[in-house]
Symmetry: C2
Subunit: 232 residues, 2 copies
């Protein structure tokens, strides 16, 4: 029963869709479910890494804590994503910490040594791993590109435009994280984020709600996003 569940969970991951059934079964045999609540630490920066993870349900953030105690979020992951493969496959230690950010989050913990062994012997597993790494790479390139914009407004506009938006007449972006965290993600203070949203709302570009932002004037946001880009 548990085995079957693992199988199903693995198949639900985008990068395991194309992996043959017998391989999925083998990976399932080296995996187990982990249920965690908000605030639970999955692993800490510097810990030795003997497994990697997939998110069945919920969300996890990867972050670092600097010398003076402030926390910088490197990445937010949601259902379907895998993480810490790179730590397992190349570094042996986690380069960041991971914390659960949604209640009743369910992870899939995939055993390391046997997975590495399987990867070394069966070429059919590599595409799944490579695909997931490439996806992560692309996201990080976007992030770098975004953070390189000097003006805070440009970073915010660009982030908003990149999010999946619901509704055609007035597309709205579900923030999915606290504004405080969004501010950190965009390398600005909560105050400036709040002020930007207020100003844009009074200009009629957006509508600012608690957990979502309605985009009322796409062209205006586009202008903000690249009208004021970085140097060189």
């Amino acid at each position: 029963m548990s085995e079957a569940g693992l199988d199903v969970a693995l198949r639900a991951l985008p990068h395991f869709k194309a992996v043959p059934a017998d391989l999925v079964a083998q990976v399932a045999s080296m995996s187990r479910f982990v249920r965690l609540d908000v605030g639970a630490i999955v692993f800490r920066e510097g810990d030795p890494c003997r497994q990697f993870y997939a998110i069945v349900n919920g969300a996890v953030k990867l972050y670092r804590v600097s010398a003076d105690g402030r926390e910088q979020v490197v990445h937010n992951f949601h259902a379907g994503a895998t993480f810490a493969e790179a730590a397992l496959l190349s570094f042996g230690r986690f380069p960041v910490s991971a914390m659960v950010t949604e209640s009743s989050t369910v992870l899939l913990e995939i055993g390391g040594e046997r997975f590495v062994e399987l990867l070394r012997t069966d070429a059919r597993l590599a595409p799944a791993v490579i695909g997931s790494l490439c996806m992560r790479l692309a996201q990080l390139v976007e992030r770098v590109d975004e953070l390189s914009l000097v003006q805070a407004g440009a970073r915010l506009a660009r982030w908003l435009l990149r999010q999946p938006a619901r509704g055609t007449s007035e597309p709205a972006v579900e923030l999915g994280l606290a504004k405080k965290e969004l501010a950190a993600h965009l390398a600005m203070t909560p105050e400036t984020l709040s002020r930007l949203l207020s100003r844009w709302e009074s200009e009629g570009w957006i509508r600012n709600e608690r957990t979502r932002v309605a985009l009322r004037d796409g062209p205006a946001l586009l202008r903000l996003a690249d009208g004021e880009s970085g140097p060189t």
Copy 2:
């Protein structure tokens, strides 16, 4: 003769060190040398991707051009690095443009379709690809972490401390790129970079030369990197 040269060049790449000789030979048979000068475009954002590259000698920058024509450098690569694997393996198009930044740069162009085919059939090739992707991932995480620092001085100090430094009594960092480009890399203007270096030099933290920066007071730089407020 050309074949032998390709073999040697491939072996010189960090991630191909552990690949068996017969595999290297196969990869060599689908590769060719390309010599380019400063300013040459290797490929453009959006172009279809049918090969990836390794740098035998020289340097290449990956960059994007925003709507208003300004250019943002995403990554700088030097000898030994490979790039565009992700574009080849997962996306089919280049997500960024690439330009040569050193004279008489020599690239290795590795044919795409046959390489993908080889990757699919021979499990011994995957570690080289995965290793290189993981390395890139780690670099980008560092970059995100760095760019997330709000203060320009903190970004600079952190970058300096992360560079390989020569000399024990007075470690010195070879910049390896124009200060203008470094400023862009750190998401600040050339003027602020210049002012920061001048101020730190007058404080005695560093010595500022044309192409290198000597680190005279590591602890002070560490304090700056952790977000302490600037001097005086």
